[in-house]
Symmetry: C2
């Protein structure tokens, strides 16, 4: 179980988790790889291959137990091990995440937000304190932060990322739309490129592909 699992398989785990949560809510108890494949646009064999990377999860022919599978996948994703996140940039996008994104469902606790706007510093958003962005380094010295969510203007991305890496922040969830050009050391960057999603939608609408 300690061999390297392909990034494509890892990226499908959250989709499986969502699907299982949905099936559980619909009181579905068992699901076969064929049914699951049809609902998710994957082949049954692909799904079985993916699950085999983690030792199986069920006996072929009997279907998967939905609740068990949801728990197993949540365990692989490490949801029971809560990590700490901060949001850097409390503008529209930062606010949208603070107000609406359910960090605990992803195994994260949102500890603080940072901004340099004096009108925001010292306020709370949905229970999260907004702190002075110019004092981020002091905060990082005194508090453990696993992931920083970058929602400030892209011009600051490189310098903030450098600061984060110097202070041992291990993960960056990057919404700035720019590639982070910094000495990252072991820090993992997850870029969110919303344009990829709209470009794909546009491709299908322009009639060049069939959905």
């Amino acid at each position: 179980m300690k061999y390297r699992i392909s990034a494509n398989v890892i990226r499908r785990l959250p989709r499986y988790l969502r699907r299982m949560t949905m099936l559980e809510r619909q009181n579905v108890e068992k699901v076969s790889s064929t049914e699951l494949g049809e609902r998710m646009g994957l082949t049954a064999s692909q799904i079985r291959q993916d699950f085999n990377c983690f030792g199986g999860f069920g006996q072929q022919g009997y279907g998967y137990n939905v609740k068990q599978l949801r728990e197993d996948i949540g365990g692989i994703l490490g949801l029971e091990d809560t990590l700490t996140a901060i949001v850097i940039g409390a503008g529209n996008l930062g606010r949208a995440l603070i107000a609406n994104f359910h960090f605990p469902a992803c195994g994260f606790q949102l500890a603080a937000a940072f901004d340099t706007d004096p009108a925001l510093i010292g306020t709370e958003m949905n229970g999260t304190p907004v702190l002075d962005g110019d004092k981020l380094d002091i905060y990082l010295e005194e508090n453990r932060v696993d992931v920083a969510v970058l929602t400030m203007p892209k011009g600051y991305a490189a310098s903030v990322a450098n600061l984060l890496c110097r202070h041992g922040v291990r993960g960056i969830w990057n919404f700035t739309g720019t590639d982070i050009d910094a000495d990252l050391g072991g820090t993992v960057v997850e870029d969110v490129h919303l344009s990829d999603s709209l470009l794909t939608l546009g491709y299908y609408l322009r009639g060049k592909g069939e959905q």
Copy 2:
């Protein structure tokens, strides 16, 4: 060229486009599938296979012409054929997209935003008029809309999606975090699940995988 191309290949096209745009900005003229693969975490053979779906783009051994490839991929994605989008819900997330997301770079023109907040109706955000959400149906009768961006609370997703489909909107870019349970007809829904991205990052941070 009219055969069905796999969704996975299509989903990589925006990534190739981004990479080519970046290389062009760095004044790189030629790139081999090996170099490209290293930068993108794909194998050279995967890249050649992907490009072969569209007829090739270059001669093996000579590398790809960066500018030409960027233009070819943009052409496949249909960027020269501008589609019309509206944003439904001008809260934090809607505002973030209106203010910061570059719709034209994806081949879209943002025509209007809709909200039901009287304080917002009649205002402009970054040049985009905010119109009365209760009059969306009238707007759809009088204007061609290709894609609706759903950034309103998830409780409205199904009813708004039904309205959109009835009026022939062909694409929905869904940020509500909920699956749209509506009679979609031929309407294509592209769901944005930000949690998938954070869950993947969390997986790597928890040391269960190596990046």
